[in-house]
Symmetry: none
Subunit: 219 residues, 2 copies
């Protein structure tokens, strides 16, 4: 694995910058469930994903969670290096959802690149805009979309990500993705089951009528 094949604007770096990045980045791996970055408790560095799946989420003081975004192959995560940007005043957690391999770019190395190179700084801007857009989408969902539509949407998205209509997820885990309480999820899933959209079993949800679920998510 070479970082030159994964770093998004490699060809816009000078040879000296490329060399610095190659030397500083460490290749790493982590298993499903691992917490890579824990809010303001650390400043790990930028993550550049090679394989697997990560999720970024926030945590309430009561331990509730909501998933903000997912990271896949070739995605880069800024917020695991938020110490790099003075104006970032929020804490994000990064967890491994599927066994992952990734590069970790030390924050000081990336910060120097940004200061030297308008291309790197502008790329960083686009990256932040992408995450900002994801959070704004979520904000609008949470503010203005009823929970049944959000849940239908979430189940469909999960089924796309997992490549199956048999989702092995507890109600608790769904609640953590969606920023709500387990009981709220359980109540709505039971309603979905009555409506013939899903079938529930221990620790799993089967999507038995995808077209109807889709219709509900768009209603």
């Amino acid at each position: 694995m070479k970082i030159s094949e994964y770093f998004p604007i490699w060809e816009q770096l000078t040879p000296a910058q490329q060399q610095r990045l190659e030397q500083a980045a460490r290749y790493s791996r982590a298993e499903k469930g691992a917490i890579l970055h824990n809010g303001s408790a650390d400043c790990l560095g930028l993550l550049l994903v090679c394989s697997g799946q990560l999720r970024g989420y926030i945590l309430s003081s009561e331990g509730r969670e909501i998933t903000l975004y997912r990271l896949f192959e070739r995605d880069m995560c800024l917020f695991s290096a938020s110490c790099m940007l003075q104006s970032i005043q929020f804490d994000i957690q990064i967890q491994v959802e599927k066994d992952a391999e990734f590069w970790v770019i030390p924050p000081d190395v990336y910060k120097t690149l940004m200061e030297e190179s308008a291309a790197v700084a502008n790329y960083t801007n686009e990256l932040m805009s992408t995450r900002f857009s994801e959070v704004m989408w979520l904000m609008e969902q949470v503010m203005w979309r009823s929970f049944d539509k959000r849940l239908a949407d979430f189940l469909i998205q999960e089924s796309v990500l997992e490549g199956t209509t048999h989702l092995e997820m507890t109600h608790e885990k769904i609640a953590n993705h969606m920023g709500t309480a387990r009981e709220v999820v359980t109540r709505m899933l039971r309603y979905f089951q009555q409506e013939g959209l899903v079938s529930l079993s221990r620790g799993a949800v089967d999507l038995v009528d995808l077209p109807a679920l889709k219709q509900r998510s768009e209603a």
Copy 2:
């Protein structure tokens, strides 16, 4: 009014860039209530506030609003030039809250500056991080400060059940009904009292403004 006195990183621009900015920026004013920027309907340019007060907000398809941030003297607004950043996928409205004077910097002029100057690009990054942080704060409020709505709802339901606005209930009992801690209830009830929604006495809660409570429960 000279833009050189307001533009945040003026001294980091080259003389040629300074001249370009001076020639391109127009000084403008608008009265309270004016909509300066309407989502994706326009790409006005960056706003650099000289005086007055602006607010950035989003709008639901049903016309509901939520204020995301306020802009005051010397604040700069990126999102009125969101066409400049490809990855911005959301629409923000900008409204004048107090009569305002401001510069408008054309998006193409600013974009060129960002491409040429790492300093401008990095400043833009910090600006975006600031707004992002404001939105994240709001998100956490919306997600996790919903207890006030639950409590308002609970009090109304109890009053319907009891047929009176004088509820003889301890904070402990309310907490037990709602699955939360007594202190959380006490804190919120005291806040409600300050807001003139309820009046507290030993072992009792009087609902003194039902319409306002109802409004809060539905907010």
